[in-house]
Structure formats: C-alpha cells, structure tokens
C-alpha cells in the first residue's frame, strides 16, 4: 500500500530541497569562481565578465604561478610542516593516549586534568608569542636554525584529538591485551600489535585532523617567521603576503608602490589573477583527498561525545 503524500509534507519537502540546494551551491560557488578566474584573462576579471565559466580562456597567470620558484619553495615548506608535524603530533598523542587509557596508571585523573585544562584556558597571544620566540632561540642555540622546526615541534597541539584516541583505546577489550601479555609481549608490542590495528579508524581520523590543521595553519607561522626568512614560510603565509603586497583586495595597505608599478612591465597578467591561481594550487591537495576523508571526519565528529 502506498501512502498518500500529504500537502504539508510536500511543501516541507520542497522547501527543504530548495534551501539545501541553494546552500550547497553557495558552498561550492566561490571555489568555482576562483577556478574560472584563474583561467580567465585579467581584463575579463577586471570588467566583471567572469561569473561562472572562464571568459577569454588563457593560462598566463597559472603558468606564471607554476614557474614562480618562491611559491613552490613555500609549497614544499607546507608539505614538510604537514608531514613532520602530523607524524610528531600523532606520535606523542598515541603514546600519551595509550598511557592515559590504562587504569593502572598512577595519577591518571591528574594527567587527564593536565591535558583537559589546556582546552579550558589558554595564556593568550602575547605570552604564547614570547614562548615561541624563546623556543626558536633555544632551537637556534642547539643548531636547529630553520624556524620550520619550531612550527613542527611546538605548534598544532590538540587535546581533543588525544582524548579521542584515549577513548578508542579504552574500548579495546582487556582480554586481548592480557592474552598478548601472557605470550610475553612488551608494552610497546601490545600498543603496536594489539591497540593500533584495532583503532585504525580513530587513528586515521585524528591523523587527518592534525594534517588538515597543519596544511591550513597561518597565524603562528606568520608571527614566528619574520619576512627576512620568508623562504621558510608555509604557503598560506606566502599567499596572504602576496595579496597584501600586490593587490588592493585586502585594502592594499602593505602595497609596495615600486613592486606594484613594476608589475605591469614584467607580467602580462594582473596580480589578482595570480592570487586566484595560487588559491587553486593551495586547495587542490585538499580537494583531491577530500572525497576519501570526508566520511572519516563525519565519524570523528560523532566520536566527539567525549567523556572522562
């Protein structure tokens, strides 16, 4: 028997579809616009002819960005920071979460509080900046002069991620661990051979959380790495600096008049076009892995019912 669809239900459904479709299009449109602009001529962008599809298709700006060495050096920096930063954060988070998940750990509540307190209270920008400055100095003194290492080691902490891991480890049945222990497995073997394989989904999720935040990190990299060492910048800092220097879209207050004047002599595309191409390059990796990771993130959010 097919149920009759009532009028109120029909109206509701139409409204729901309409709003969802509009919102979904709104979410994608800016990216389509940027992509189209990256492959349009500067005059088409300036005259406002680009609305959805590329107008006056050409790839001058894109090729300009592809051949911009500085851009790719900074791109490599981002890859470096993302890779090592994720490995480092995941490493100490897994070890710490494993220890925290053990009931026999002495002072377990104290350690948990130690972690959770950082979610409640942060010292603020100024003390943190001073701390990072001191860190960089100490790293410099012991021979690590590349400021990328400050970013990799000292930033990107996330207590929520550790708690996600801890909860996942707590869910592993203790019988399996005991069996492994009777077979003579050491603590580290129990972690790597028993716990890690059984918490794959959580570890993947947490790794992605760490990785995405590293890829997207801007503020502290900008604060810690001065302009004089711009070859250590991650790509986000470079893009923003470029926008401030050569375009007027951010108010253009940092514009370097000489650089802006030389621009037209040296390039046959506008700086804004180059920004579009850079944005496209910076989000391509995210878009490429996005369809595969999307379900992990959804899972991660629903794991977030964190308890202690």
């Amino acid at each position: 028997m097919k149920r009759k669809v009532e009028t109120s239900e029909l109206i509701f459904r139409i409204v729901a579809y309409f709003i969802l479709i509009v919102f979904a299009l709104m979410c994608v449109y800016p990216l389509v616009y940027v992509l189209s602009s990256a492959f349009s001529s500067s005059s088409a962008i300036n005259s406002g002819a680009v609305v959805l599809w590329p107008v006056d298709v050409q790839a001058d700006a894109f090729i300009g960005v592809l051949t911009n060495n500085k851009f790719w050096i900074n791109y490599a920096n981002t890859l470096f920071v993302t890779f090592f930063g994720t490995v480092w954060a995941l490493g100490y988070s897994i070890l710490g979460a494993y220890a925290l998940s053990k009931k026999r750990l002495l002072g377990r509540h104290g350690w948990n509080f130690f972690l959770v307190f950082t979610m409640w209270f942060s010292a603020g920008i100024i003390p943190q900046y001073q701390n990072y400055a001191a860190t960089s100095e100490i790293f410099g003194a012991i021979g690590i002069s590349d400021l990328k290492w400050t970013i990799v080691l000292a930033m990107g902490m996330n207590a929520t991620n550790i708690i996600l891991l801890r909860n996942s480890f707590e869910g592993v049945p203790s019988e399996i661990e005991e069996a492994a222990r009777i077979d003579g497995a050491t603590e580290l073997q129990i972690l790597t051979k028993v716990y890690l394989p059984m918490s794959k989904a959580t570890i993947a999720t947490v790794a992605l959380f760490f990785g995405i935040s590293r890829w997207n990190g801007y503020f502290w990299a900008f604060k810690v790495i001065p302009e004089g060492q711009s070859y250590s910048w991650p790509i986000q800092v470079y893009i923003r600096d470029y926008i401030d220097k050569y375009t007027s879209i951010a108010g253009g207050t940092k514009n370097d008049p000489d650089a802006v004047q030389n621009w037209d002599l040296n390039y046959n595309y506008s700086a804004v076009s180059a920004v579009y191409s850079m944005v496209v390059c910076a989000i391509i990796p995210i878009l490429a892995i996005y369809p595969f990771i999307q379900k992990y993130f959804a899972k991660g959010v629903n794991m977030g019912g964190v308890k202690e």
Partner: protein, 358 residues
C-alpha cells in the same frame, strides 16, 4: 550509620566463644601496610608505560604551560629589566589591570573590544546555532542517498579550507572598485538588493555597517554544514516507528516535527547549545585579523570600531613593548571569563543529561 567494609572481617570461634581476625583481613592489612612500597614497585616495574607519557607531558608543559607561567608579565613593567623576557621585569602589582579599567586612553579600547567579543559571539550563536539544526532536519527529508551525499559533500567542504583561503574568497567576492576593477560579484548582489552603490564600490567589508553581516555570513558558510553532522546523526536515530505512529494518529509534517523529531533531538541540541555558550568568548582572531587587513589604514581603522575583539586588540598591543603587559592582562581576563563559562556549561550539561564533554 557505621558499616564494616568487609563482612569476613572477624571470625567467630564457637568453641571458645571468641572473635579473631580472619586470614583475609590479615592479608588486607599487610597489603595496606605495604601499599606505598608496593606502589613504588609497580611504578618501577611499569616504567615503560610512564615513559610513554613523557613526550606528551613534555610538549604540553613546554608549549602550553610555559606560556601560562609567562602570564606573570601582566603584573610586571615591560619597560624594565633587559626588555627581552618577563622574568627580568620588575613587579608592578595590579597597575595594568587598573589602567585597563580607568586609563582614559586604553580603557575605551578595552571595553570596545570586550563588547565586540560579546556581540560577535552573540550573533554567531544567534545565526550559527539554528542553521546546522535546520540543515540536519532538511537532510532528513532527502530520501535519495546519492542526492543527500552529494549535498553533504558540498556543505562540509568549506570547513576544510584554511582561514587565509576563506578570507581571500570573502575579500574577492566583496572587493571594492579600487584600481579600476569591477566590484566583487556578491557585492553586486548586495547592490541589486538596494545597498547604496557608493558603499558597494568602496568595498563592503570595509564598511562598518556591513562588516558584521559579512563576518557572520562567512562564519555560517564555513561551519554550518559541518556542524550539522552531529544533529543529522541525532535526527536519523529517530526510529521510523515513531513517525508511523504519529502518522496513524493523523499528524501532518509540522506536527511530526513538533512532537516526534524535535523532542528526540532535544538533548543533543541542549548539550550543543550549552557547549556553544561555554566557548562564547573564544572568538577566533585569525579570521578577524585577516579580514581587517594586516596593515593599519583608514578603512581598517573604521572597521576596528565593530570588528576589534580582545584577542585582536591584544595582538595589536603586542607589537609595542610598553603595551605588552596591558595586552596580556586584557586577554587573560577574557580567557578567565571564558574558562568560567566553559566549566559552568559543563557542570550544567552534566546535571541536565549525564553527558559531559570533558
């Protein structure tokens, strides 16, 4: 009333009519006596487990707790000592807190930032909180899995973009007509909706009147889709039999929403609301900072009036040595109130539902 911990504490000997301590209790007493000795031994035997804790504790100590130690900078005069580290400054007591509240030059800035923090957070809550719930309810209406997945992929996407990219998109779509370029495409839409052309041409982001709206729209764009995940999980957990029962009772769509769906997801909604209120004061500075522009110009100055929050103010003050202590004090106050809100929210959530996030 007093109760014995163990009922095998004493043994009654019927022959002699006397009580004696049970063997179990003797063992327990012995263990208790050696408790600390045993604890030390178990910890030593377990050193590998404690070693695993070390990297995490070290990282958190160095880069989360050390800055808290440096908070003492707000009780010290930054123009003393060797000017490089707070530990060398001389103590001033609560001088900078006093100045924050009473100094004619700084206190208006502080109060403005504090007010803006609340207003920004409040608008964020007012629009940012219902939107994900509405999206989740609507997603539930989409019966085709493929269509729903496609739409979900689209609305989650902005969350994964960096703040730099998001603000760049905002700035591009709302750009001014400076330098002979055309006005941003969304600004044109605003123009078509009746916003003054001169305002549109000068860049809506830098117009005090529209800045907040744009900030909130950008915030919704970035987070609403992703935040709907949690509510969608709650909505699809509603059992289909509930709907059927309601339909048999003659409930239309609205009545089903009102009497079936809303009550079922209410606990999730309440928890999320409490948590959102708890994090009210942690307004992200990165986006505001990037929208205002990294330089200080006329347009930015006007915008500070509505955009400047405590953390952006503190960041600005950090660039001048003599303002550092005041900036530290301002942000510490903000974060302390934030912490009280979080802890309070948690306590309420725990009472309300036996669920707490921490």
């Amino acid at each position: 009333m007093f109760r014995l911990k163990y009922d095998d504490f004493l043994i009654y000997d019927e022959e002699t009519g006397t009580y004696s301590m049970s063997a179990e209790q003797q063992v327990r007493d012995e263990t208790e006596k050696n408790r600390w000795k045993n604890t030390g031994w178990t910890v030593l035997k377990d050193w590998r487990l404690y070693l695993m804790l070390v990297p995490m504790v070290l990282v958190y100590f160095l880069w989360k707790y050390m800055p808290m130690y440096e908070l003492m900078g707000c009780f010290k005069n930054p123009n003393t000592g060797d000017l490089t580290h707070v530990s060398t400054y001389s103590w001033t007591g609560l001088k900078y807190f006093q100045e924050l509240f009473t100094n004619a030059e700084y206190s208006p800035l502080f109060w403005r930032a504090f007010r803006n923090t609340f207003i920004t957070a409040f608008y964020g809550l007012l629009f940012g909180f219902p939107m994900p719930i509405i999206l989740a309810l609507f997603f539930n209406e989409v019966k085709s899995n493929v269509a729903r997945s496609i739409m979900q992929v689209c609305v989650y996407l902005p969350k994964f973009l960096s703040t730099v990219i998001v603000t760049s998109l905002v700035l591009v779509l709302f750009r001014s007509s400076a330098g002979g370029q055309s006005v941003g495409i969304v600004s044109q839409l605003f123009g078509a909706l009746g916003v003054d052309n001169a305002v549109v041409n000068s860049g809506l982001v830098y117009t005090t009147k529209y800045y907040r709206a744009i900030y909130i729209i950008a915030d919704l764009w970035e987070h609403a889709g992703y935040d709907s995940i949690v509510f969608f999980a709650a909505v699809i957990a509603v059992s289909p039999t509930s709907y059927e029962a309601a339909q048999i009772d003659g409930a239309g769509k609205m009545a089903q929403m009102r009497y079936v769906v809303i009550p079922s997801i209410l606990s999730t909604v309440v928890i999320m609301l409490i948590m959102k209120i708890g994090s009210l004061l942690s307004v992200g500075y990165e986006k505001i900072y990037l929208l205002l522009g990294t330089g200080v110009g006329e347009a930015q100055d006007a915008n500070y009036e509505v955009a400047d929050v405590v953390s952006t103010l503190s960041n600005r003050w950090s660039e001048t040595q003599e303002y550092k202590a005041m900036g530290t004090a301002a942000e510490m106050l903000n974060n302390l109130i934030g912490m009280i809100l979080v802890i309070g929210a948690n306590a309420i959530a725990r009472k309300a539902s036996d669920v707490s996030l921490y």
